[in-house]
Every structure is written in C-alpha cells, then in structure tokens.
Amino acid sequence: MNYLASVGSYAIMIREVFKKPTKWRIMKSLIFKEIDELIFSSLGIIIFISFFIGAVVAIQTALNLTNPLIPRNLIGFATRQSVILEFAPTFVSIIMAGKVGSYITSSIGTMRVTEQIDALEVMGVNSLNYLVFPKIIAMLFYPFAIAISMYVGIFGGWMAGVFGGFLTSEDFITGLQTDFVPFHIAYAFVKTLIFAFVIATIPSFHGFYMRGGALEVGKASTTAFVWTSVVIIILNYILTQLLLG
C-alpha cells in the first residue's frame, strides 16, 4: 500500500514540476548549472569506466575464442554490441544513479532539512519546478555522455585487443562494421533518454519528500539509489522486449 502511495505521490510531483514555471532568466542559469553539475562533472568517471570495461570485454571475448574457425574480428563485433546495447546505456546509467542520484537526493534533502524549500514556498516559488525541472532538462544532455561512453568503450576494446596482441587493428575495425544495425543506436538512445528522466526524478522525489535530519538525508540517498537502479533494470527489460523483441 505504501509503495502505491509513493507511486501516486511521484506522479503528482511530476505534474507539479511542469506547473507554474520559474522566470526564464533564472531557469536558464539553473539549467546551465545543472548541466555542469550532472553531466560535465560525470564525464571523467564515465570515460574512465567505459575505457576499462570496453577493454575487459575485448579481452574476455578474445580469451574465450578458442575455436580457430571463429574469426578474430568477432572480438570487435562483440565489443561493439556489448558496449552499445547494454554497457553504455544501462550500466553507465546505474553508475550515474549512484553518482548523480545521490547528489540530487542529498542536495534537495539538505534544502528540505534546513527549511530552504519552505523558504521558497513561502515566497510563492513553485519549489518543484525550481529544483527539479532544471535537472530534467540538464539530463536531456545525458545521451551525449553516453555517446562518449560508447566511443571510449569501443576505443578501450580496440586498445586492449590490438596492444594485447589478440587481433590486428584491421580485424577489430572489420568486426566493428560487421552486421551493423543502425536501429541499435536508436534503441540505445531511447533507453538512455528514459533512464535520464528516471535518474533526474526518482532521487529528486526522495530528497523532496524526506523528513528528519542529516542522518535521514543519507538514508534517503541510499533509498533513492536502490529504487533508481531497480526501475532502470525493470525498464531495461521492458524496453528491450518492446524495441528488440
């Protein structure tokens, strides 16, 4: 019953976010600030993880290709498919749920605890629009981060494959180009956009409606990460079934 009430409250929150907009001059600066906080400040960790995961995928594939009849360019093919279809959109999103999600929950939760949200409400500001809307808009740029993740992941696979002596650069590139389905890119970006909305709103919900003090802010961040990850995993299954099934 509690879960149902939370889903209802979440839906009401989303409706309120798009009501009574904040002055554009202020909203514009909030959006730029959030793009910096949520997207640019995450690029480092995204690039780092993507590079090494791409490399590991390439090595794992190479080490499991024991049959001499299977061409070595399969390493490039497998790296591309793994990175584009699952690693970049889904697993980077789960990492972002931890990094960005906990930032969102703790920053909004701290504002709740210190009465800053009450101060906004008293002034007549739509606090949900002021706090959550810029995060949703900023997360529209998340697919760019995922595009970088895809590129770096594949590059990591190429580096590990070629410099690890598993295959030649030409073989890897041939594998990358084999049976390429452009719709897979569209599928990845559709998933990414939906996950971006989830990453922006679920942690905001947990921060905005939290009660208590500093300890509860920490608990809310953890709960937000768990629920954001759960929703991403479930949506990943549903979207894969709908778009590729």
């Binding site: 002055k23 800053q116 101060a119 008293v122």
Partner: protein
Amino acid sequence: MIEVRDIHKSFGDAHILKGVTTTFEKGKTNLIIGQSGSGKTVFLKCLLGLFIPEEGGIAYDGKLYTDLTNDEKRDLRQEMGMVFQGSALFDSMTVEGNVMFPLEMFTKQSKSEMKDRVDAVLKRVNLIDAHHKFPSEISGGMQKRVAIARAIVMNPKYLFCDEPNSGLDPKTAILIDDLIKEITEEYNITTVINTHDMNSVMQIGEKIIFLKDGLLEWEGTKNEIFKTDNEAVTNFVYSSDLFKKVRQMYIQEQN
C-alpha cells in the same frame, strides 16, 4: 491587519488547532507564545498559507485567503516576508544573492536597481561588508540579519518570524529583537513572531497570544502579562526564579 477567525487544523486524528480567533494589528509586533506542542508552528504555517485550516478562515487586510484566486494568492505570498528559525538561507548563494533572490524572481528590475535595493536593505540591517560572503562564512546573528533583509527586500505588508532568537547569545538576540521592532514601525507592517524567548516577550511584545493545547488561552500586552491571573500563562512565562522575582518587583512597584 490579519484577522484569524475560529481556525481548526488537524493532521489525521491529531486535532492541533481547536478554534483560534485573534487579530494581529498593523505596525505592531505580535508574539505567539506557548509550550512545545501547543500548536504555535502549525498556527504560523496557517498564517503563511502553507497549511489551510479545515474550518474558519484567515483574512489579510479584509481579504479571506480561501476566497482568493491562485494569482491573488501568489501576489499575497509576495507581500509576506518570513524569517525562519534556522534562517533558511540558500547556502549555494552569497549574502547578496540571497537578498536579491526575491527581486530576481518576482520583479522586472534591472541588475543595478536590484543591487541598489539589496545595498539599502543590507545597510538597514547593519550588514555592510558581507555581500560576497556565503552563509557558512558568517555568524548566526549575521545570518539572521540576512534573513531579515531577504524578508523585507520586497517591502512586505506582513512579516513572520519563527523563533528569530534561537541559538543566539543574549546580546545578539536583543539586537535582532530591536531590529524587528524598528522595521515593523518603520515599514508599518504586521509582524507576527513565534517565540519561546521571554526576553523578547518583555522587550517587544506589543500583543502577545498564548496558545495551549491548540486553543487561545490568553491574549494581551507585555504590561498585562505581568498582572494576569491566568495560571497557565504565569506558569509558562514565569517558570524561572529570575522572572518570578521580576514579576514580584513589577507588582510591588505598581502598588
């Protein structure tokens, strides 16, 4: 002027306000006192329009809040200033940014006009060199003064303060009290202060209401509070030996 007409407010089974009727006059500092759990905060939040009473109503200069359209309610909110217990300053903004915030949100003033207004109110609250400091870099008393500056920057008709002296040393608390009283008279606004501080009651309480178990137990001025026979009020206000002695001295002086 704010007229409170028999307001009731409940949360689930808990009946917090059980029919409070009173009036807060313009140009006066009105104090709400009462023990923890007496309904003071809920009452203040009803006055701010954050909680809507189930019964009764609150009229601001004759206009009943519940009769207002959404736009009128928004306009009314902009005529209210609020000083929160913990100051509630936006910690990611400088002092100047905090005070400028309502102007940026609700006016079409140019940047230089807003800066002039911010300078004027910061000067009014005796904060001159703190423009570019963040709330975490200034003292509690200075934070309260910034909160007051933010509350009055839009020239409000109504000023609400929730425990403005909490966490301050006695000297700073008196300065804040005096500042609120001076601003109330200077701007001719209706000020309502929620407080536990008996020094404030004695110093600036032009009208005091005492809430007990969600009911208005007593109302009067700071002079009347010395003479009252109401046991609940005397037990609350004169709970310390010092205040008991002050009261005895006052009564002896009057006789």
